[in-house]
Amino acid sequence: VENVRLLDRLSSRRAVVGTLYLTATHVIFVENGSETRKETWVLHSQISSIEKQATTATGCPLLIRCKNFQVIQLVIPQERDCHDVYISLIRLARPVKYEELYCFSFNPKLDKEEREQGWKLVDLNEEYHRMGVPNNYWQISDVNRDYGVCDSYPTEVYVPKSATAHIIVGSSKPPRRRRFPALSYYCKGNNASICRSSQPLSGFSARCLEDEQMLQAIRKANPGSDFIYVVDTRPKLNAMANRAAGKGYENEDNYSNIKFQFIGIENIHVMRNSLQKMLEGNIPLNWKLEKRIDPSVKELKSPSMSDFLWGLENSGWLKHIKAIMDAGIFIAKAVAEEGVSVLVHCSDGWDRTAQVCSVASLLLDPYYRTMKGFMVLIEKDWVSFGHKFNHRYGNLDGDPKEISPVIDQFIECVWQLMEQFPCAFEFNERFLIHIQHHIYSCQFGNFLCNSQKERRELKIKERTYSLWAHLWKNRADYLNPLFRPDHSQSQGTLHPQIAPCNFLYKFWSGMYNRFEKGLHPPPSVTDYLMAVKEETQQLEEELEVLQERLANLQKSQSGNNKVKSKQQDQSKQFGLYTSNNSLANTPQEYSNDLKSFPSRSPSQGDEDSALILTQDNLKSSDPDLSANSDQESGVEDLSCRSPSGGGCLPSEDSGKDSDEAVFLAG
């Protein structure tokens, strides 16, 4: 569709005209006229909602909201075209079969072996060995070999040695738990462990002997402690309501030697609404879209600070983030300081339990704060234990009530920790953002389906590629320059502050506003420091070369007078060196190199970022300055270093194979 206008979300006066294409996998908007042919690519799987609004004089507006928080506002001249686009997008954005997803057509041009290597990068067996199991207390159980006991669990789970198959099966068969207690994290130092399960189906009175024995077994696996904590991550009220429905929580009278603890994390529905409210309050889209489309209306107030803060508070988002963090802190403290094992569950044991276990692991074990370790952590606590990626992130068309930003919240917890412990993580913010992007993108097979069982049936590993290999290949982009393996923050347990006056939980603008380029002035300190570090490395290498050359030269000079023929040799050698040198780095080039940081230098890239100020604007005496400030060049710099090397979307590296693009444009 031609002559489509793409509106800038922050500014009413900024709109670009271009052509809209729909392909089998992407929505593509190509700007007219500009020499660089600026393109916007959006994967269909990223689209969360499409809204067609009332037609105005200038055209028919279409609002596309994406799961990675991009919001695209288009105005299409013809109503009919708009309708066609709308209908096609609705179909394309809601695939019904896994095979329709992008990962089955995505081909990064790797051969079979490379693909297999990619999948082997994260190996959970290796991870459990690293933790120190199997050992005297823990063993692999094969009760779930054919997913016979629990179809949302992996085939291999670690259980206490004293828990016999009879106990496990007994504790997992209805009317008890559907997901029996299994090992999530084992602390080598003091034998304390974190186990996870679903809620017991105990109701008010029912007892389950095998389940009680199971918990005893977990306690015995930690000889240093005579009790275990049972952490129910739900608010007490919810748990009691569940009890009335024949489910519920452990009765301290029936289970000996447990300490029971509620931690009020709200359910997926509350979280979904909270995110929605936060995004609405963030940049109010209800900023009268009609007014924005009709250029004659200039009245546009910029969002005020108190609206924003009020919206943030009202959404409760940060409160929920803090609740998850607090739960993780509680468990980490129990394990590290008290040496007590913890059993964590919520209702099903795949949402809140996954969040809390992974936050606790992250706090406890520095390994999970490395890039590789973080991949392992997600693979362990989320992928293998049957977090329902498909349902939560709406990869296939499904029940909208199942959708909830569960892993998003975990990722944000990690970011909040990074703010508090800047040197503790090997990876940077971009790493988190790209993982979030790919959880929704369906470009890689890692997060498909709801369980390991489904993934095996779909033969994911044979048919798709692994995200971890892709990220690992580009790991230079994801490094935190402040991280040093020997730094004190990279050792041992982290002890975060919990009161807001001691540590500020912040709105994560880098995530939720990452497409509002004007809000993110120039390349970050992270990029700058990475560039400096890279240069430092080059310097180190050059230093070595120079020292060697110097040594050689001095040696040969001292021997110069002795043998005449040697001198010739040496001059030959000398010639060789110079050529070498010019290949590596000449001084001139080098200083250029230093100065050629501009693309990375955070101080650049503002010249063209003009604030547009028209006479009209001044007349209204309330120019929305916020709306206009735009550091375009700065943002583009950043995008150059995104792993794709292309645009600012990580998805772009893939879709640009034009041979596979089918243009449906009218």
Partner: protein
């Protein structure tokens, strides 16, 4: 615990004296006493927002100490303040009192334009008591005209040059409100003065930091604003910036929120919102951006004023310069900016910074105007972390010294008072201390790379954050952040060292090679 004439000293009895607290009495904002049995507790709240609790056994002793502290921290004569007694332990390399003279500023200016002149019309502080003895004005306006204009402007603050934008020759002026009154008085000389800054055929902008309604009300009290009929080449923009007690209240509320130990997130956010502090930041930054935009993008001259022209006016003009002028983002340049746009321009520091957020005095002239400005600089700094030569600590240090200091720099309300107090002769300048290499190194931003461009900050709510370095300074554990800063410094330092070594080796190698060739030739 030991009380001296100017300090409260607390030292642990450990041998190494590792923990010793020296607190200036003038830093004490308020003091509370509490008794449980015979154990007395004194809670000292400081102007830098720190809270110190002293437990003192014995009621009588405790009361004595409390009353001494109270008396010592509320001296009513400026000349009894510590700066008059402070003897520096360092060698003065450069007298800060004469580091930043307007004459030097003018010299720089005259190298690019000859449209301006230095006027000594205010030599005896007779024309305008809150102006410095010399000011920069358009060349075409003589001193007699200036005297007339001064009568037409509140407090005699006639329009003077605040900033000259070399890139396009546009100027930023500042003044106080014109005294038009209800009957629309006008002053030909005033019109001539401001028009002298315009290029022919171009418009200028008057940025009035009051809302239109307030400006209109001001007429009843003899004040007013530039009316279109008399200033046809000027367009007026009202950009409201909050002042005085509203700011002070906001400051008090914010600090209270920051000291709330509750773990409740909703409560924290609603208190933060209720304080309105970030709203004031946003308004101020927006106004400054607007002024900068008029100058740089519209190619127009700008006149900024509110009522008195000593508070919001200075906030706007100085922030606009941070945005426009790369020089103001260097340490020296920023110091010069503070001297020029705040100290010499007559911001009444002594009145505004007499008390901080814990005081109960609620005097109407107390307001965190300067702190608000520093925080806005910090917000821009946060968005452009590599464009500033100084670091956050530098800004925090200025905040501290504006409220309590051993130096005389921030004493007095204007140059006139400072001259009467003979501050340059009797006290030490803050700049004499700061600008010594030992101190400077603490305030340098390791990431600094000179950036000659205009920097446009984002003023969207998402881009603004609470200044934790000041408001959570005493509550948050700073170790991890300090370690991160150290790491940053080390990365850069190591890089520079390597560069130096590589360059040295290259030179050495080149020399040797040259020798070698010489020998070969021989």
């Amino acid at each position: 615990l030991c009380l001296t004439g100017h300090h409260l000293i607390f030292s642990s009895r450990r041998q190494d004296n590792a923990e010793e607290l020296w607190l200036l009495h003038s830093n004490i904002d308020s003091i509370d006493k509490r008794f449980v049995g015979s154990l007395g507790t004194i809670i000292i709240k400081c102007k830098d927002l720190r809270i110190i609790q002293l437990d003192i056994p014995g009621m009588e002793e405790c009361l004595n100490i409390a009353s001494s502290i109270e008396a010592l921290s509320t001296l009513d004569s400026v000349t009894l303040m510590y700066p008059f007694f402070y003897r520096p332990m360092f060698e003065v390399l450069e007298d800060g009192w004469s580091s930043f003279l307007l004459e030097q500023e003018f010299e720089l200016l005259s190298s690019v334009t000859n449209e301006w002149r230095l006027s000594c019309v205010n030599k005896e502080f007779s024309v305008c008591p809150s102006y410095p003895p010399v000011v920069i004005v358009p060349k075409s306006v003589d001193d007699d005209a200036l005297r007339k204009v001064a009568l037409f402007r509140h407090g005699g603050r006639f329009p003077v040059l605040s900033y000259y934008h070399k890139k396009n020759g546009m100027a930023m002026l500042r003044s106080s409100q014109p005294l038009t009154g209800t009957n629309g008085r006008r002053c030909k000389e005033d019109e001539k003065l401001v028009n002298a800054t315009l290029r022919s055929g171009r418009r200028g902008f008057v940025i009035d930091t009051r809302p239109l309604a307030v400006a209109q009300q001001a007429r009843a009290k003899g004040g007013g604003f530039e009316q279109e009929v008399h200033y046809p080449q000027w367009r007026r923009i009202h950009k409201y910036i909050e002042r005085f007690n509203i700011l002070q209240e906001s400051f008090i509320k914010l600090v209270e929120a920051c000291n709330d130990q509750s773990h409740n997130m909703d409560r924290w956010l609603s208190k933060l919102e209720a304080s309105n502090w970030l709203t004031h930041i946003k308004e101020l930054l927006t106004a400054a951006c607007l002024a900068a935009q008029c100058i740089d993008r519209e190619g127009a001259s700008v006149l900024v004023h509110g009522s008195e022209g000593t508070d919001s006016t200075l906030q706007v003009t100085s922030l606009a310069q941070i945005i426009l002028d790369p020089r103001c983002r260097t340490i020296r340049g920023f110091e010069a900016l503070i001297v020029r746009e705040w100290l010499q321009a007559g911001h009444p520091f002594q009145q505004r910074c007499a008390q901080s957020a814990y005081s109960n005095s609620k005097q109407k002239w107390e307001a965190p105007v300067f702190l608000l400005f520093l925080e806005c600089v910090w917000q821009i700094h946060r968005q452009f972390p590599c464009s500033f030569e100084f670091n956050e600590q530098f800004l925090i240090m200025l905040f501290e010294h504006a409220y309590a200091s051993q130096f005389g720099t921030f004493l007095g309300n204007n140059e006139n008072e400072r001259a009467k107090l003979k501050l340059p002769q009797k006290t030490m300048s803050l700049w004499s201390w700061v600008n010594r290499p030992e101190e400077l190194s603490r305030f340098q931003n390791p990431l600094y790379e000179a950036n000659s461009l205009v920097i446009w900050p984002s003023v969207a709510p998402q881009s603004l954050q609470l200044w934790e370095g000041v408001f959570l300074r005493w509550n948050r554990p700073s170790r991890f952040l300090e370690e991160a800063e150290e790491e940053r410094i080390n990365i850069i330092k190591y890089n520079k060292e390597l560069q130096a070594r590589v360059n040295a080796l290259r030179r050495r190698l080149a020399e040797l090679e040259a020798e070698d060739e010489d020998e070969e030739v021989q």
